[in-house]
Symmetry: C2
Subunit: 367 residues, 2 copies
């Protein structure tokens, strides 16, 4: 990313800009604020692929009505420890925020809480939601399905989403553990970057449409862009030799929790067409959970155990050529600290688009 980084933008100004765009396309202030803040939070954590880079897509979807600006969000069914929310085809971020908050409220009251969401949209980085559990002394979990990009093991048609899983657990003096991982070997973004830099990609990331291992990033991206049938490989790669069936199994598990339990569409049907062949309402599914730590063990004991455990991993002798062992979330916390200090990093392409959006929405540009 550093190749492309050209500027740093004031965090609050960027949030306010996104907020105004959302308001102009009809989103209520609460949801506009949530989506703006959660989008910029992704860029702050260094995950530019899931942040304000999506602002145009969201704004255009809202304007076209494929994303509903004022959705009828409703609780479909609820118990003291579970709920299903229908997002009404609105933005994914605000409903996810509220669903995770509901899971946490249940955990605070009863011990655990799980909320599944249907008829939703792309909602940025999962870590945003799993991490909401941390200040409440809960372990948090989030999952989502997504449009089909990944091959099932032994198959050659993208049928699974990158179906990520996030788990966040609080620690004491150490940083919390924050895992946020696609169940594919890599995200499509890595192949996009290789394509832009004219670099080859290693076997084990993707397959061409004919099922052969993809190594030419240009050909792979071309097949992806034209929807010809190229696909990402599951975590563990092609076949079963390196455990590709495990990544494939995790993707199915996410599909079960996020889509089949809530009644959302499975990955191949997440972005349907209308009978006229136009883009319809998305029907993405999410799953959020929270476990209250002190239902299992006193919080102080758990935090101490987390600190000691994480430190013991960092203290492991390093592999040849390596000088540091990371705990999940560490890189992102460090990026966030730097970016809060120096400004949100925005790359050339996204900056140009934000300027264009400023012009279109008659707002002052922040980049």
């Amino acid at each position: 990313m550093s190749d492309q980084m050209i500027m740093r933008v004031n965090e609050q100004a960027l949030k306010d800009f996104c907020f105004r765009v959302f308001c102009q396309v009809g989103v209520c202030e609460e949801d506009a604020r949530l989506t703006a803040d959660l989008s910029v939070a992704a860029d702050l954590r260094g995950v530019a692929s899931h942040g304000v880079a999506h602002l145009r897509r969201y704004a255009e979807g809202l304007r076209a009505g494929t994303i509903v600006a004022r959705p009828q969000e409703r609780v479909v069914t609820e118990t003291p420890v579970t709920a299903v929310i229908d997002a009404g085809a609105g933005l994914g971020h605000p409903v996810s925020y509220r669903a995770m908050q509901r899971a946490i409220d249940k955990a605070r009251q009863v011990g655990v809480g799980f909320v599944s969401v249907r008829n939703s949209n792309h909602h940025g980085i999962l870590a945003n939601y799993a991490m909401m559990a941390l200040p409440h002394d809960c372990v948090g979990m989030a999952m989502t399905n997504a449009s089909s990009k990944v091959m099932p093991t032994f198959g050659r048609k993208p049928t699974l989403g990158t179906n990520p899983i996030a788990i966040a657990a609080p620690a004491g003096t150490q940083r919390p553990f924050v895992l946020d991982m696609a169940t594919s070997a890599v995200a499509l973004g890595k192949i996009e970057i290789a394509d832009q830099l004219s670099k080859s990609i290693p076997e084990g990331w993707a397959m061409y449409k004919d099922g052969a291992p993809a190594t030419d990033s240009h050909r792979a991206m071309d097949e992806f862009k034209r929807n010809l049938g190229a696909g990402l490989l599951s975590l563990g790669g092609a076949g079963e030799l390196h455990g590709g069936h495990k990544g494939y199994g995790l993707a199915i598990a996410v599909e079960i929790f996020a889509a089949l339990l809530s009644g959302a569409a499975p990955s191949p049907l997440t972005y349907p067409k209308t009978p006229e062949g136009k883009p319809g309402h998305a029907n993405i599914g999410h799953f959020f959970g929270a476990w209250r730590v002190d239902c299992f063990r006193p919080m102080a004991e758990f935090k101490k155990a987390m600190d000691e455990y994480q430190q013991s991993l960092k203290d492991v002798p390093k592999a040849p050529g390596q000088d540091r062992i990371y705990i999940h979330g560490e890189k992102e916390f460090e990026a966030e600290e730097r970016n809060r200090r120096e400004g949100v990093p925005i790359n050339r392409t996204v900056a140009a688009d934000l300027r264009k959006l400023a012009h279109e929405f008659q707002l002052e540009s922040v980049v």
Copy 2:
């Protein structure tokens, strides 16, 4: 395994044999029966590495007192939706069975249930416990930590267990989905087999003690057996190129749920020595969970969605050289059907050991 398979044993006779061995070393009848049945269930499902092959190890541990034959199993803390059980250093199978049953009971009553176990032992295949949820129309989950065999990403000392995860979800006319996967790229058993067959192993499975990629199965197994510091790699392999940090993250997540929430030992400390340097009581941790489907969606709808989803995966065009796409658990269900018909497959090495055990325990041999 087929190379080594020499005989098929009557299922009930094998279960009774194991039961008698456990009784003779002081285990109560209920626990002896559960451990015998759950052990043979692994062999029935074709997972010979986790079945009666462990009988000697369990029997000797029970005789030596490192596994407590009549443990003080007790509920440490409990809420309507959570519990922590101290296994009292007894056998892992019976406490796991009861813990999962308790999680299911909570799910039946309240909607979800989670039970974490500490001071436990090896408990065979995780699928045994996750699948207990199926007849109760629940989604089941099980996790366990284990002794250190896996390198953290960028490290070169085994510090993580193979820390498996199992998830089982009911279907309608299709078989249920049953994922049971180590979070390492492969199990040590695969390297053992390559060693026995004098075959090399592919890069991405393991590291020698010096941190170089292991390809010579003899050298790798020698370093493993002598505890010199060789280690398995996480799902995704070495480094981050193919997502090894994801398998590493999942292993930490299992450690958090199974060990840190319950107060069990983290993987490197699961099998401690006594002050005299002898083997002490193990302190393995497990985590079991159940979600009642109809708290989210009517069971009939869910089953139909599971059937359609699984069928849609099987219908995907096949990769070159492949003629079938599997759903997790299918291979094991098919093995179980065959083995119930033809007898439990027992390989030469295990058969010899069972005969020796029969002699030692003055029982009639069943192999």
